[in-house]
């Protein structure tokens, strides 16, 4: 149903930035640059072209990063609700505004003149491995911008009042001048993800330059660093690994000052080698789509052991809560919940909307706060496996493999990979016919045809080991057997949204 739409707070901010610095470069890429003036004009054009759309939603489905960035700005200006379409949204079977709108209750989707903040829906593999749409508002994501900026609060001479003004989208020209320090920030994450959107906001709402790349092409990212004079970037750890291989011993990127690794745990040795080759400082942060981006970040200039082995202190306005230990003598890692001003209002999963608690979000991670107040992550409280920056639900693979007639029972678990910070998926299988058991190759072909993630090791067993309550558990020797050919995985790793 159509309604009278007003420009969003982000749209107002962008228009003021573009009017203030029309000749500044808003978006840079290997294909060319786009000034703020040109971006405002192009976005206005697209927003006007969409104004006759019959509903309040706008599906952002542009394949090219430059087109997608322009479309996001057009979405801000249009005041419409935005759905970031992605392979995950399609695999969730919920693509299409009709199904999304059906899932949202009236007080969230709303109709008629808007006095609410427009919605932004991102799809993610999330903490369960099942694709889901995370429902944010323009206002919650502006609060996320304040959190991002607060990492540099000292450098930018920002007060708490300044951060509150940014959070509410009301910051003035004095704050603006201080926010604009000439950074050229490369997003190695798709703009369809909360990580990419966070970078897009940090640049385009403060007059800085967003550097866009094909996020699947690490060689292109390497070339872009040099040619677009990138000063800072955010990339998944697996991309950092491939960039190092591509660059070899290479030469330092003189403009590059900082790199943030996300999309999964970070290997401190990878961070150290990256700093050596690229001549920049590597920072590790922690965030999730549901939390609206980063909620903890190691501070620039902090000692390397703190920057690499913790995810830093919570950002201003963020609170962390660790579950009470089972006993007073238990000093191990505890389940982590987070409260952030940038939290999503709910999620759409399997066609149903679930409202999130307005104050606390249970992350599914476990950790500890060290003596410096920094968060040390120790892993997940669930069985989810992280590989290549994606969360994989082993139970989904088990459910599929159980349908194989050659399989009596199966359990899938993650074990440390040779590449530190990554996990391999190992399937323990009780075969129907031990004389002619299924092979890893069989399973891989079957999983590929089903569009599921792959398993990497196969262990044939006579029976699955059981816990006291009768549930199957990982074979006691599996970790030991795997670690005999692997370096030990670090215990204190950062974890970011995929």
């Amino acid at each position: 149903m159509s309604s009278t739409r007003c420009i969003s707070a982000s749209g107002q901010l962008f228009r003021e930035v573009a009017t203030r610095w029309p000749d500044a470069i808003a978006i840079a890429s290997l294909a060319g640059d786009l000034s703020y003036g040109d971006l405002l004009r192009d976005a206005h054009h697209r927003a006007a072209g969409s104004s006759e759309a019959s509903d309040d939603w706008w599906t952002l489905d542009q394949a090219e990063p430059m087109d997608l960035a322009v479309e996001v700005v057009a979405g801000w200006l249009s005041g419409r609700d935005l759905l970031f379409e992605s392979p995950l949204s399609m695999s969730a079977g919920e693509t299409g505004l009709a199904s999304l709108a059906l899932a949202l209750p009236p007080d969230v989707s709303g109709v008629g003149p808007k006095d609410r903040s427009p919605l932004r829906v991102f799809y993610t593999s999330g903490t369960t491995g099942t694709p889901k749409g995370v429902v944010h508002t323009d206002a919650s994501l502006l609060a996320g911008l304040a959190l991002t900026v607060s990492v540099q609060a000292e450098l930018l001479s920002l007060s708490l009042e300044d951060l509150q003004a940014i959070r509410s989208g009301q910051y003035d020209s004095r704050t603006w001048d201080r926010l604009r320090i000439g950074i050229r920030l490369l997003s190695g994450m798709s703009l369809r993800t909360i990580s990419g959107y966070t970078i897009l906001q940090r640049t385009l709402l403060t007059g800085e330059t967003l550097v866009i790349v094909d996020t699947t092409d690490h060689r292109s990212i390497n070339a872009t660093l040099d040619r677009c004079h990138v000063t800072s970037m955010s990339i998944p750890g697996i991309v950092a690994q491939r960039m190092l291989i591509d660059r070899g011993t290479g030469n330092t990127v003189t403009s590059l000052m900082a790199a943030g690794f996300g999309g999964g745990p970070v290997d401190p040795r990878l961070a150290e080698r990256f700093e050596d080759v690229f001549g920049c400082e590597v920072a590790v942060g922690y965030g999730m789509t549901e939390l609206g981006g980063p909620v903890a970040m190691s501070m620039p200039g902090a000692p390397s052991d703190l920057r690499w082995t913790t995810v830093g202190k919570p950002l201003p306005g963020v609170r962390l809560r660790l579950e009470e230990p089972a006993s007073i003598s238990d000093e191990g890692p505890r389940a982590l919940s987070v409260s952030s001003p940038a939290m999503a209002i709910g999620v759409v999963e399997r066609g149903a909307f679930r409202r999130l608690d307005a104050e606390w979000f249970s992350t599914g991670d476990s950790g500890l706060i060290d003596e410096n107040g920094a968060l040390r992550l120790h892993g997940r409280t669930s069985r989810v496996v992280i590989r290549g920056g994606r969360c994989i639900d082993p139970e989904r693979l088990e459910a599929y493999l159980r349908t194989d007639p050659a399989v009596v029972s199966v359990r899938v678990d993650g074990v440390p990979s040779r590449l530190q910070g990554e996990e391999d998926l190992v399937a323990m299988v009780v075969p129907q016919n031990p004389g002619a058991p299924p092979t890893l190759r069989d399973f891989r072909a079957s999983l590929r045809n089903a569009g599921l993630e792959q398993i990497h090791r196969l262990q044939l067993v006579a029976s699955l080991p059981s816990t006291a309550d009768g549930a199957s558990s990982m074979a006691p020797g599996l970790h030991a057997a795997q670690s005999s050919v692997s370096r030990p995985i670090e215990k204190d790793l950062g974890d970011q949204d995929a």
């Binding site: 697996i238 291989i245 890893l440 999983l447 990497h456 370096r487």
Partner: protein, 96 residues
Amino acid sequence: MNPVEIHAEGQAAIAGITLAEFCRGLESYFGFGPFEIDPDDELAADLGFDSVMYVELVLMLEEAAGHTLSEQALDSLRTVDDVWLFFREMLLAAKL
């Protein structure tokens, strides 16, 4: 990062460079059973290589060759046979 530390077993696995031995080495390294890998197999389509496995393969070959590889050189390699030929040429070039 020290690739020797990670991939010492990979170096041993591909020390013999007949095509059959190369296949057996890959099987051992990537967790396949004996004779599951054929020379004609495509890395992605038949063996299910993902981004992490490609990085492992590059690091394994680098370690065996004793020098850094241009990953770009691997772009045209689709099958196990392609990788083996590339690997042999790389070793021969290193000896000249």
